[in-house]
Symmetry: C2
Subunit: 355 residues, 2 copies
């Protein structure tokens, strides 16, 4: 703790390094321009003196905490850890740190509000959580930009970054119809999530264009356990689906397990399966899951750029960024006679768009 010793100041560091005080300040300001040699001198002097640049004191001057809060509720689904990792690296490259806000399980309303206010984050990214109108309003009043990631909301004017939820659902309908399937099932995520709603709407509209009725439907709530129960429900029906689209890969893996190990079904001969996200486990050969991709790095890059823009220019209009994905075909669906192409070791469905 260096008790009794006066803490080193930036003046001490500047004197020892033989540079100006402003150089010391720049050396510790993320993203500031400084010659590599000067930075090295400052860092050496700071280390020798035990100097701690004080981001907190600085934040009182600049009124910026340089902390972005990010809420994510489902780290079980491999999509979100990958997002978190890329987001943390992306924000860091812009001089921000990521404060992880995990909503409490089952807590009723706006569990994040206190934290967001108390820690004075410069911005808030909500991934896999819904934005209440109360939280949106509080953030607006406090001047804290909010970005929805992999979600949209109709209750407030909020910027968002999503994949192609609606088109993805449509393309999946096109592929399954082209593969000769006739009885369709859908496993929904959390019912009020825009993501699940849009994927379902795209899927049912796509099926309708090919002359098919609404698919059989069960709710998996984005959880492995609920999706397993949804699979039992769908697969026990007299008119058992021969193709199921699950609103994400995580649920599709649960459905694959139930289909194989409880119903003795072969995939794709007895049951075709499609997920959404194209996460790492979709590529594991035991599942070889056909999935509509949400390209992680472009989505994260868009989110980082957008949140930084909102911080720098609070008057900027809200924006809804949609990052295009592709339907990556693997062994969990039958191969149609045509309509696909092989590229970079992946097979992409490019059949005629129904929409």
């Amino acid at each position: 703790m260096n008790e009794g010793r006066r803490p080193a100041t930036s003046t001490d560091v500047a004197r020892r390094a033989g540079v100006s005080q402003s150089a010391v300040s720049r050396a510790f300001t993320p993203g500031a321009s400084i010659a590599e040699e000067t930075r090295r001198k400052v860092e050496e002097a700071a280390r020798a003196l035990g100097y701690r640049p004080n981001a907190i004191a600085r934040s009182l001057t600049t009124r910026r905490s340089r902390i972005i809060g990010m809420a994510a509720a489902y780290l079980q689904n491999q999509f979100y850890p990958e997002v978190l990792e890329a987001m943390s690296r992306g924000l860091r490259a812009r001089g921000y740190q990521l404060l992880l806000l995990m909503p409490e399980h089952g807590r009723h309303a706006d569990p994040l509000l206190e934290e967001v206010m108390a820690w004075q984050v410069d911005g808030l990214i909500l991934a896999s959580t819904t934005l209440s109108s109360a939280l949106a309003e509080q953030c607006r009043q406090a001047g804290i930009p909010v970005l929805l990631f992999n979600r949209t909301t109709s209750t407030a004017h909020v910027s968002s970054v999503t994949g192609e939820n609606h088109r993805g659902g449509q393309r999946i309908a096109d592929l399954l119809v082209a593969g000769g399937h006739r009885r369709f099932g859908f496993v929904a995520g959390i019912e009020n999530s825009s993501t699940s709603q849009e994927r379902e709407r795209g899927f049912t509209e796509g099926l309708a264009r090919h002359g098919f009725d609404l698919p059989a439907r069960a709710v998996g709530s984005y959880s492995f356990e609920a999706a397993s129960a949804a699979a039992r429900n769908l697969l026990a029906r007299a008119d058992r689906p021969d193709a199921i689209f699950c609103a994400n890969d995580h649920m599709a893996i649960a459905v694959a397990e139930v289909a194989r190990h409880e119903f003795g079904l072969r995939i794709p001969e007895d049951l075709a399966l499609v997920g959404f996200d194209d996460t790492a486990p979709a590529k594991w050969r035991s599942y070889a899951l056909t999935s509509f991709s949400q390209p992680l790095q472009p989505m994260v890059d868009a989110a980082v750029a957008l949140v930084c823009e909102m911080i720098e220019n609070p008057a900027a209009p809200t924006r809804q960024a949609v990052v295009p994905g592709e339907l990556v075909m693997r062994a969990s669906t039958r191969l149609p006679e045509s309509g696909w192409l092989d590229r970079d070791g992946q097979r992409i469905w490019r059949g005629h768009e129904s929409g």
Copy 2:
């Protein structure tokens, strides 16, 4: 942004809520005692006035940021997202927030040092990263407690929380020998990680006690791709192992994929597989992976308690907490004739300990 309007102060909130200013302060101090009714009044008044309690200003008074930095390098391995989620919730219950520090890929030395110093974290938890002696020394000088999670180090006196790495490796040797296996393989994690080293030492010592030589060995570096290559290496040998222990579940799944889909091997008939951690994918029936457990919640509880203790009492001696695990048997290993018991839907190996 409330331009032109004076920001509300805690005095304004106290007046409107009809409570004392100290009640307002308590309402926004994590962990402080306050009647539910008072808290409700304060929160209502704060909302109405757009009041933002200022954790940053408070941290200058208390010299506490109430932020804990946590570094985690491998979010691909499902163990770490689960840790992150539980750690964030556990710290929050103690009034701390978790700042996620992702080391940059391939950056040479102490990528975290700047962040730790600049953000004045109250404590630092290093999960799945090694602690350089430079970082350890800097943190010691700055009075920032450091806790290693799922790692230990011999280069500094640092507190740590780990599972039973050495005993786990031994128990796995006992189980595989009891199952009648005779040719053993080991897939190591990152070579200089204490966790991989201790698991390997336990395994080889356990095998030696039963009269077996060192296992065939390949390095998987905790990555899916490197573990797949390690599997190809081990399985192509003339004296192909009939049982492989992988230093974590994530690598064991990669080995299972290669064994089945590239070598046409049946698990466990041709090859037994054991992992470590007992993560969610180990339970997926396509893998049904036998694994030595690292009980997540007890490990996180121990880490949260330890880091809080270190913050409150900087003079406390360092401690190495070891959280006991169990060898959970599933279908990826042959069932020995005896030595196991069924409990809570799980089969636990309890055969005579070799150690």
